[in-house]
């Protein structure tokens, strides 16, 4: 069972705030036959909300450098973050379809790095990679029992949207992420306004954290009303938003633990708990 070799794009929040997501991802992907290599000297993707909003030419040029590193190493990219996925996927898409933009970006890239973007690299989100290339049966075969938890699956925004570019699943009624969570032995519970933004994106968390928190609280209320026992995300930024917001919400006495899909799969596959890095979570994980 070999699903191929990929350049593992780390981004920022995973390696620097939730390294347990990184160790879980490395272990889980390895056990599913996905070989990873480091993308040497990669940087921030850079973050779509706080970089694309400020200057789209800089955003694309830094993203193109990250894409060019993977091309130089001869591997496709896999990321476990919606923000990194959005930046890298959208930039590759734009540069593959707009020769003028490609020429402009490549001039900057060549001057700064000596590299150019050639359009040979594919950008993969690990949920989509697990669904399409690894398959649900392979995931089921690795599950070592454990608890069947009622899970609120949070897709986040930039994994599937804009769907005319990403072409992964229906943006309004998606199923790929739920299918993986169920393959891991959990029950994906429907809840009101599932699919709503966590509140953090677009620079809103940095500039107006109170507004971001209100959106998060609305999601949490809906999840709690559905009786879920765990929130499962596929993006370290949504993960951070749900994890650090709950201790701030005084009218929410019962907290819901937050797991990135890599950590949930780690639990289901019987990985040592110490490898999941759960002790840094601000909303306590007692599962």
């Amino acid at each position: 069972m070999v699903a191929g070799k990929y350049g593992f794009f780390l981004g920022c929040i995973m390696p620097l705030r939730y390294p347990g997501i990184e160790s879980s991802s490395r272990e889980v992907l390895k056990s599913l036959g996905v070989e990873l290599e480091d993308l040497k000297g990669a940087s921030c993707c850079p973050a779509p909300g706080v970089t694309r909003s400020f200057d789209q030419s800089y955003w694309m040029a830094v993203a193109a450098r990250n894409l060019a590193i993977a091309e130089k190493q001869g591997v496709d990219i896999v990321t476990i973050c919606n923000g990194c996925f959005d930046t890298l996927f959208e930039t590759a898409h734009k540069l593959n379809h707009d020769p003028e933009a490609r020429k402009k970006v490549n001039k900057i890239l060549k001057d700064a790095t000596g590299m150019e973007y050639n359009g040979t690299v594919n950008v993969r989100h690990f949920v989509e990679l697990l669904y399409r290339d690894v398959g649900l049966e392979a995931i089921k075969s690795k599950v070592k029992g454990g608890k069947n938890l009622k899970a609120a699956v949070h897709y986040g925004c930039h994994f599937l949207k804009p769907s005319n570019v990403k072409k992964i699943d229906d943006a309004e009624r998606p199923h790929v992420f739920d299918d993986i969570v169920e393959a891991a032995g959990m029950t994906s519970v429907p809840y009101k306004d599932k699919g709503m933004c966590c509140g953090a994106g677009g620079g809103v968390r940095a500039r107006t954290p109170d507004v971001a928190l209100k959106m998060t609280a609305e999601n949490l209320k809906n999840m709690q009303a559905a009786g879920v026992e765990v929130i499962v995300d596929c993006c370290p930024f949504c993960h951070l938003q749900y994890d650090v917001s709950q201790p701030q919400l005084k009218d929410m006495p019962n907290k819901i633990p937050v797991l990135h899909l890599s950590q949930l799969l780690g639990l289901a596959f019987g990985l040592e708990k110490e490898k999941l890095g759960l002790e840094v979570h601000q909303t306590k994980v007692n599962l």
Partner: protein, 171 residues
Amino acid sequence: MADTKEPNPEFTRKVIEGGGKTVNLCFQCGTCTGSCPSGRQTAFRVRKVVRRAQLGFEEDVLPSDDLWLCTTCFTCYERCPRGVEIVDIIMALRNMAVRKGYMAEQHRKVAELISKTGHMVSLREEDKVLRGKLGLAPVPPTVLSDPKALEEVKKIAALCGFDKLIVPGGK
């Protein structure tokens, strides 16, 4: 009669050139506002931002806090019956606002971190310790452990003029 303002097609043209090429397709149905998670919590109305961009009301839109309440969730973009690429319009407007000096201090700080360190969050001693405990390289194999790679990223910021956009003292 209420005061009326003259449309400014020149500004609308700049929005289109900045990536908001579908701005004129909007017929103001309000599906975007009805779908907006941020608008549920605040007075932000996406439809109005698009209308101001269409009419070229630069002074109403660029200095406005509303422009920064969009989380770029793409729900409006997905649901728009006219195929208006609303997030692309907002990005074009935000880029123009930043060039006019409208950048919140919190945003300036994150942008500065990215342009100087190559990452949007910092590497603290405690992160190195925890990474080591998890069996990971204490310093991630990114620009953080490669000064030459960091120089490349800084050079991109200089070539794009990004470092000049983030000088302190914005509006």
